[in-house]
């Protein structure tokens, strides 16, 4: 029998034993090792070589195919020949021609009658009639006015005008020098400054490279995020789905450790492989960069201090450790629901797209390390790495760039901290979810019939499955996105279309197709056995809704202050306009009642019911509440609203599970949304003007105290009025 009992030490012993076993299996799989670790080492040199060769080839091609600049002029008048001679002298000057001089210049001295046909036939770009005495005037005093004429059949391009200007400037310069000489004045009298560029090409390269460096580095950061996450794929597939396929998962699940310990052991193994992949990528990038540096002009990276660049790389590496953890946990979670390696590969495909989309979104203009971005998985990791590089480049630059303010070192440090904390929290949550999925009897012992059900309509069931719950939320999110483009500009129609198309339609289709019990799924119950109790719960829920909004607003004002995004300001202004431009009942219906009913049916009804199951354990209930709140927050699209909507989602989810009724959640939601509408209705024009001018008031302390009182009082009313049912019990 075993020698050690329970306790942290024995749990960690089991975890490390599982991790060691999985790592041993991984390193014996040569194909997986090659794809995971060796391929990235070859990827960056290949990309760099191909891109360098491609750029060089393209430049050479452009240079080769660029048409030579040429100009053909027709001169008429008695001084045509002499003027042509002056042009030839100007062309042959050794001390420089004016900017824009054509590479090839042809001049015809013709009769006036022949000039126009010549230009119209396209044999000359322009015709300049020279008045008698032009040469004389040039060599004495006065100004000659020249009027180049062009063909109406072949109108000239901008370059022709530039070339003509350059040629005539050259002749004018000659005339100026002649006049100075005749006046006994030095030739440099009218040239107080002469500009001579030295190593002009190199300077141009250096500036250009510094300009494109952040963009190029951002692309590399996105690629690094994807390839690091790819490192988790094979070990994650093998760790759970592979074990199921081989029939070895049962041997681990009957080991004397909790499922979460099994998952933790497997996570350690996948995380280690992902970290090694990250390091392999980082080493490859560093080596490739050293090669590329030699290919660049000598001073291309001048001014970039190596220590600052190394420091930025170090910060990027640290933040990507968090990315590796999230990627490893995410891959484990996704593959935990798969029965076979093939199924796991299929389910990981959308994960690749998700990671690519999130990582790519961080390099969009406007995404920075401020506020919420570092907390987002993948997007935050790339954003912090990018900010670290921007800060190092800005620190090295002699000339500040006000158009692109670079983050400060404090910003980067704060972003790094937020990203690491967020990564740890997301990883923990995903591992808890993995443990739940791992021991799900339906998944663990699911027969092939479930897998081959295909598109046949499922039988009547009490609740949707967790997968079907997530499908509804994702479909709603996608529909919400598309609705933004399709919905009418009018905010009233837009709000109705949004709720109808993004919430009710996908849900109605799914609910009809899935044939679930509507009453159980959508918690169609009274929250209390008595009318009095139901009334108490509803009043309590309304107080909670008001309290949640006011405390949330206070936190938001303290956090964001006046730095709300233009999108949030625009939304606020549109909503204020809606409230002030119509009757109060319309605003309350559109902003409070409609979203409360529709969104609660989706999130606290369908999504929560599927995620929690009929009689959830405390852990499953917690995971279900957190996941549906996260989806609810994502549904509100604007990142600044997400923290508050997430918190509200937690309260609503928990309330629904405790009361087994959707009604309290609807009331909380409606009260939460109605509060700002009522405040806008009651506000004076001066107050609204101040808000719209970007001068939001800090909430007074008494308002915050009252809102906290509302929260506590509401919770108390719900507790005493509702029929509080302990989790884990089935409905009576």
């Amino acid at each position: 029998m075993n020698d050690s009992g329970t306790g942290i030490a024995s749990r960690w012993r089991a975890r490390t034993a599982i991790a060691r076993r999985d790592l041993l299996e991984f390193v014996r799989d040569r194909r997986a090792v090659f794809i995971t670790l060796v391929m990235p080492m070859a990827m960056y040199p290949l990309l760099a070589m191909s891109s360098t060769l491609g750029v060089r080839t393209a430049l050479n091609e452009i240079d080769r195919n660029r048409p030579a600049s040429r100009l053909t002029l027709a001169l008429s008048g008695p001084d045509a020949e002499a003027f042509a001679g002056l042009v030839a002298v100007a062309r042959d000057r050794t001390d420089g021609r004016p900017l824009g001089w054509p590479e090839s210049l042809t001049i015809y001295a013709v009769e006036e009658d022949d000039a126009k046909p010549l230009v119209d036939a396209g044999d000359a770009d322009a015709w300049i009639p020279l008045a008698p005495g032009t040469i004389k005037t040039l060599s004495s005093e006065g100004t000659v006015t020249l009027k180049p004429r062009f063909s109406s059949v072949h109108p000239p391009g901008r370059s022709v005008r530039e070339h003509i200007t350059a040629v005539l400037r050259g002749v004018a310069d000659l005339a100026r020098r002649t006049r100075l000489r005749q006046a006994g004045l030095p030739a440099d009298l009218l040239e107080p400054i002469r500009i001579e560029f030295t190593a002009a090409a190199s300077a141009s390269h250096a500036s250009g490279i510094r300009d494109v460096l952040p963009t190029a580095a951002s692309a590399v950061f996105v690629l690094l995020a994807l390839l690091t996450a790819t490192g988790a794929f094979y070990p994650a597939i093998d760790a759970i789905a592979g074990e199921k396929e081989r029939g070895t998962i049962e041997t681990l699940l009957i080991a004397p450790c909790a499922p979460v310990d099994v998952v933790a052991g497997k996570f350690i193994a996948v995380f280690v492989v992902t970290l090694v992949t990250l390091l392999a990528n980082a080493v490859s990038i560093a080596l490739t960069a050293t090669v590329l540096v030699r290919l660049l002009p000598a001073d291309a990276l001048s001014g970039l201090p190596p220590m600052a660049t190394l420091s930025a790389g170090g910060i990027a590496l640290v933040v990507y450790v968090g990315l590796a953890a999230v990627a490893a946990a995410l891959c484990l979670t996704v593959t935990a629901a798969a029965k076979s390696a093939k199924e796991a590969q299929n389910t990981l495909t959308p994960v690749v797209m998700l990671i690519a989309a999130l990582a790519g979104s961080a390099i969009l203009p406007g995404a920075d390390t401020g506020r919420w971005v570092p907390a987002l998985p993948f997007a935050g990791h790339v954003a912090v790495a990018r900010a670290a590089l921007s800060a190092s480049i800005a620190g090295a630059s002699a000339v500040p760039r006000p158009a692109e303010p670079a983050p400060s070192a404090a910003d980067v440090a704060l972003g790094l901290g937020i990203s690491l904390i967020s990564s740890a929290a997301v990883t923990w949550l995903l591992l808890q979810l993995t443990a739940t999925l791992l021991t799900d009897e339906d998944i663990l012992f699911r027969g092939p019939d479930a897998a081959s059900r295909g598109f046949t309509r499922p039988p009547v069931r009490p609740r949707p499955s967790p997968g079907e719950s997530l499908t509804a939320a994702v479909a709603g999110l996608a529909a919400l996105w598309y609705t933004q483009g399709l919905a009418p500009d009018d905010i009233v129609s837009g709000l109705v279309a949004q709720q109808a198309l993004a919430v009710l339609l996908p849900l109605a289709v799914l609910a009809w197709w899935q044939r679930v019990d509507a009453r159980g799924t959508f918690a169609v119950n009274w929250p209390s056995r008595s009318a009095l109790g139901t009334g108490a719960v509803c009043i309590g829920a309304a107080l909670i809704g008001v309290g949640l909004f006011v405390t949330g607003a206070a936190v938001a004002l303290a956090t964001w202050g006046q730095s709300a995004s233009p999108e949030l300001r625009d939304l606020a202004e549109r909503l204020i306009s809606l409230v002030r431009s119509g009757p109060a009942w319309r605003a309350l219906l559109l902003l409070a009642v409609m979203p409360a009913v529709c969104e609660e049916i989706l999130f606290r009804g369908w999504v929560l019911a599927g995620l929690a199951g009929p009689a959830p354990s405390l852990r499953r209930a917690l995971v279900a509440v957190i996941v549906q709140a996260a989806l609810f927050a994502a549904f509100h699209l604007l990142p600044e609203r997400m923290p508050q909507t997430f918190a509200v989602g937690i309260v609503l989810g928990w309330l629904t599970l405790r009361t087994r009724s959707l009604l309290p959640a609807i009331v909380v939601h409606a009260a939460h949304n109605a509060t700002p509408a009522l405040l806008v209705i009651a506000a004076s024009d001066a107050d609204l003007g101040a808000i719209q001018a970007g001068r939001p008031h800090q909430l007074p302390a008494w308002a915050i105290a009252v809102s906290v009182g509302f929260l506590l009082g509401g919770a108390w009313l719900v507790a005493i009025g509702g029929r509080r049912r302990p989790l884990g019990t089935t409905s009576a």
């Binding site: 034993a17 699940l253 009957i254 004397p256 909790a258 012992f445 019939d449």
Partner: protein, 246 residues
């Protein structure tokens, strides 16, 4: 060592109907006893054994292994249980030695005790010449012996074996059952299921016949076959057909 009381397990089938796989069965297996669990496909044998192995949770009723309740103390059950089924496999890329070492560590055994235990099991199960060969290159019989060694590495007093001979040839099955006989002699408690009644007819102390999730007959071979020709197989058919069995 194994006590099952009014055990019920229901699950929802893919057509939405509630299926009662185990319907209120009760039995016990005492220390040093080897009991055969007999039944056709879908009778409830595997579900019962998975509940005993804490892989499934019972809908109602209770099950205890070595005094530990499967719901209240699953870790206690797992520490005292060795479980092998026809579907439990071994990692292809590890050697039997590595498999046994890793499970020894997972079971919390002292490092110093693992190596001697592996050698001991190697002798008992005749793993000597395959101990350092990847499991993926072993025959099904050899893999099943490794699987049994894995279940025994922490020296559990209770063994639950779900059709352990189904992938073995006649010789392999005989060797395995001989080994189980030795383990029973060492006071191990064994619950074994199989479709091949003749293999265990003379090896088990008692038999439980299960059909449609219910125990239809229970007793020693002599008691089950008393007064009827055809031996255990005939008694089994009578029991699952609902006929009275002594």
């Amino acid at each position: 060592m194994i006590e099952v009381l009014d055990l019920v397990k229901e699950y929802r089938a893919s057509d939405g109907t509630v299926v009662r796989a185990v319907s209120g069965i009760s039995f016990r297996v005492d220390r040093g006893e080897m009991v055969g669990l007999l039944g056709g496909n879908g009778a409830g044998k595997t579900t019962t054994m998975r509940i005993l192995a804490t892989l499934l949770k019972p809908t109602s009723g209770s099950a205890r292994v070595a005094g530990h309740d499967v719901l209240a103390d699953p870790l206690g059950v797992r520490r005292h249980l060795g479980y092998v089924s026809a579907t439990t496999g071994v990692p292809d890329r590890l050697t039997p030695r590595e498999v046994l070492q890793s499970f020894g560590r997972i079971h919390g055994m002292d490092v110093g005790r693992i190596a001697p235990r592996v050698e001991e099991l190697s002798k008992i199960l005749d793993l000597g010449n395959i101990l350092d060969r990847p499991c993926g290159r072993l025959s099904s019989g050899q893999r099943q012996r490794v699987s049994l060694a894995r279940a025994l590495v922490h020296d559990p007093p209770v063994l639950v074996l779900d059709e352990p001979t189904s992938t073995l040839d006649v010789l392999g099955a005989r060797d395995l059952l001989d080994l189980l006989g030795d383990l029973r002699a060492e006071a191990h408690t064994i619950l074994i299921s199989t479709h091949r009644l003749h293999e265990i007819e003379h090896r088990c102390d008692r038999f439980l016949v299960i059909a449609d999730g219910r125990i239809r007959a229970e007793g020693t071979r002599e008691a089950l076959t008393a007064g009827r020709p055809g031996g255990l197989e005939a008694a089994f058919f009578s029991a699952i057909a609902g006929e009275a069995v002594p």
